[in-house]
């Protein structure tokens, strides 16, 4: 652990150290390998991919693949749809989740435990198990094959996480400041908006990025509900290159890279806060 006293370096320690670096390096190489393969393939020509003498790095890097996908498929449309679905779900999930998490953290009321219980149990129903029911609801509301439908479904199925993470964040913040604000004549809403939310900003940003990523990566519901090509988000849309008769791997992977990059960047930003949020939301009863 943290050694403050310098000790003579033993052989055993050096070997352990070397072993540590070796294992970490292996883990990184294995983790990155699929992305490496994806990127190399995205730069190859169809002929090179299917040639009997396989190559690892592309012989001639075909950067044009990254441009071709925009004309071969309505990629811009898929991208826009993904942004709309992920952005819309995030906004709705937060608008519903923040007040609920606030009530759970700051008020006592009958049915509190029941509500929290339902929130947790709702996690057990993945959308895929409820697809038949979801489909019926969407038919009734006229939201099948619509982006708005996906927005509501993603927002609803992310409520549990939103409330869980935000309740943990709010509970970790002392309510003294809000009480002082109330004495000064603020209403609850004002004290939440002006006092609590600014302090809770890191937790809120983590939560909203996490919902955004979840909704961006969602596949199953979109696959089932969306039939019109121009309404598909990226996760479903890019499979246009994965046809029954032939798979255009170079295009599939070039398009995939566009779907992955924004999310990976966002994720690296929140990784640390997200996990501590997960743990605190669960522990603080």
């Amino acid at each position: 652990m943290n050694e403050t006293v310098k000790k003579p370096v033993s052989v055993k320690k050096v070997i352990l150290r070397a072993l540590l670096y070796l294992v970490v390096l292996d883990v990184c190489v294995i983790t990155l390998y699929p992305y490496f393969a994806m990127f190399c393939t995205a730069l190859k020509s169809r002929a090179e991919i299917f040639s009997p003498h396989g190559t690892i790095l592309p012989v001639h890097a075909l950067w044009s693949n990254f441009i071709d996908i925009w004309s071969r498929a309505p990629m811009a449309r898929y991208l826009l749809n993904s942004i709309l679905v992920a952005g819309g779900s995030t906004v709705i999930a937060m608008l519903c989740g923040i007040p609920a998490a606030y009530a759970l953290a700051r008020m006592r009321f009958k049915g509190q435990t029941a509500f929290l219980g339902f929130v947790i149990v709702s996690q057990m129903f993945a959308p895929v198990v409820l697809l038949i029911g979801i489909y019926k609801v969407m038919l009734t509301l006229g939201l099948t094959d619509s982006i708005l439908g996906l927005v509501f479904i993603n927002a609803a199925f992310n409520q549990a996480f939103t409330i869980w993470l935000l309740r943990g964040t709010f509970l970790g913040i002392s309510s003294e400041m809000e009480q002082a604000a109330t004495i000064d004549g603020c209403t609850r809403l004002q004290s939440m908006l002006r006092v609590l939310l600014p302090v809770a900003a890191p937790g809120i940003v983590t939560t909203l990025i996490f919902i955004f990523i979840n909704a961006w990566n969602e596949y199953t519901v979109a696959l089932c509900l969306i039939s019109t090509d121009t309404n598909k988000p990226l996760t479903v849309g890019i499979n246009i290159f994965n046809g029954y008769n032939m798979i255009e791997w170079q295009y599939l992977f070039a398009a995939s890279i566009f779907a992955i990059i924004p999310v990976v960047i966002l994720f690296m930003g929140i990784e640390k806060n997200l996990v501590s949020g997960l743990a605190s939301g669960g522990v603080k009863g």
Binding site: M38, C40, T41, C96, A100, I132, I134, I163, I260, S276
Partner: protein, 294 residues
């Protein structure tokens, strides 16, 4: 007086938007699924009346169901257990101080952030017999001299799906455990060192008990997610050939949207939910009770 009654209603106003959202898009579908599971449903999805447990008996009698159930259990147990062990070990490794730790942590996040359908496509490409990069790589390295068929039987293909599942699940476990590890007071270890405890004693007597709540959170969530995971199996094999690589969720998707047997699909949903509820509660009660001993 007026103010007092408002205070009583106030919390419900705050939770109302959330309740409405979840009621329409989660609760109503749940009710629909249970109702359809107990009803005679036409091919077009119209409910034609109550028919008791007929859907359940039809599902339970079908030859494929036993196989699908077995696959689901193998899939869930293998992915959750192996990714928990590997993720835990990886967290212990990443908790050491070393150069490049930040970079390593950032890289480990990748599979967690990538959408499963893309991850599964890449794996499918890598293990392809004719042009997959695994064969190419191994031939170039001189480990094999001709292309190997990595997916010769459905069982082997299913194992690849499990491997892919483990690969994408490890980061979540790792980061949950890491958060637990970082909250452990280092004086425990110092005291143990003074008392002459070795590495393994410290691991089992200090680390493991103290990260158990993190492990419980990640394991319960993983049981739920992995059990219900659809994209990996769907992208790699679609549950084919026959039902050899189907899990409950891919099976019910096909029943509902390919075969028009929505009543039976709803029955499969209900069976899946009951299994999940029992497993998750048993696990939670078991670990929470064990935790009380401390």
């Amino acid at each position: 007086m007026k103010k007092n009654s408002f205070r009583k209603v106030e919390p419900y106003i705050w939770i109302a938007p959330s309740i409405i959202l979840m009621a329409i898009f989660i609760l109503v579908p749940i009710v629909f699924v249970f109702r359809m599971a107990l009803s005679d449903v036409s091919k077009a999805g119209l409910i034609r009346g109550f028919n008791g447990v007929a859907n359940f008996t039809k599902v339970l009698k079908s030859a494929a169901f036993g196989l699908v159930l077995k696959n689901t259990l193998v899939w869930t147990v293998a992915v959750v257990v192996l990714s928990t062990i590997l993720g835990f070990v990886l967290a212990l490794i990443l908790n050491n101080q070393f150069k490049g730790r930040k970079v390593a942590r950032a890289i480990v996040v990748f599979p967690w952030a990538t959408t499963l359908v893309i991850q599964a496509s890449v794996w499918n490409f890598i293990i392809n017999t004719d042009y997959g990069t695994l064969n190419t790589l191994l031939i170039k390295l001189g480990i094999i001299d001709h292309a190997v068929n990595w997916t010769s039987t459905p069982a082997i293909y299913f194992n690849w799906e499990i491997a892919c599942g483990i690969f994408v699940t490890i980061p979540f476990v790792t980061f949950c455990v890491l958060s637990g590890l970082q909250s452990i007071d280092t004086t425990y270890y110092e005291a143990a060192t003074v008392d002459g405890a070795n590495y393994w004693q410290k691991l089992f007597k200090i680390t493991l008990p103290l990260v158990r709540s993190s492990l419980t959170v990640s394991t319960v969530l993983n049981i739920i997610y992995v059990f219900n995971s659809f994209p990996i199996v769907w992208t790699m094999t679609k549950g084919d050939p026959a039902n050899y690589t189907d899990t409950l969720v891919t099976y019910l998707y096909k029943l509902a949207f390919y075969n028009g047997r929505q009543g039976e699909a709803a029955a499969v949903s209900v069976i899946g939910f009951v299994i999940l509820l029992v497993c998750a509660s048993v696990y939670m009660i078991y670990t929470l009770r064990k935790g009380d001993d401390y």
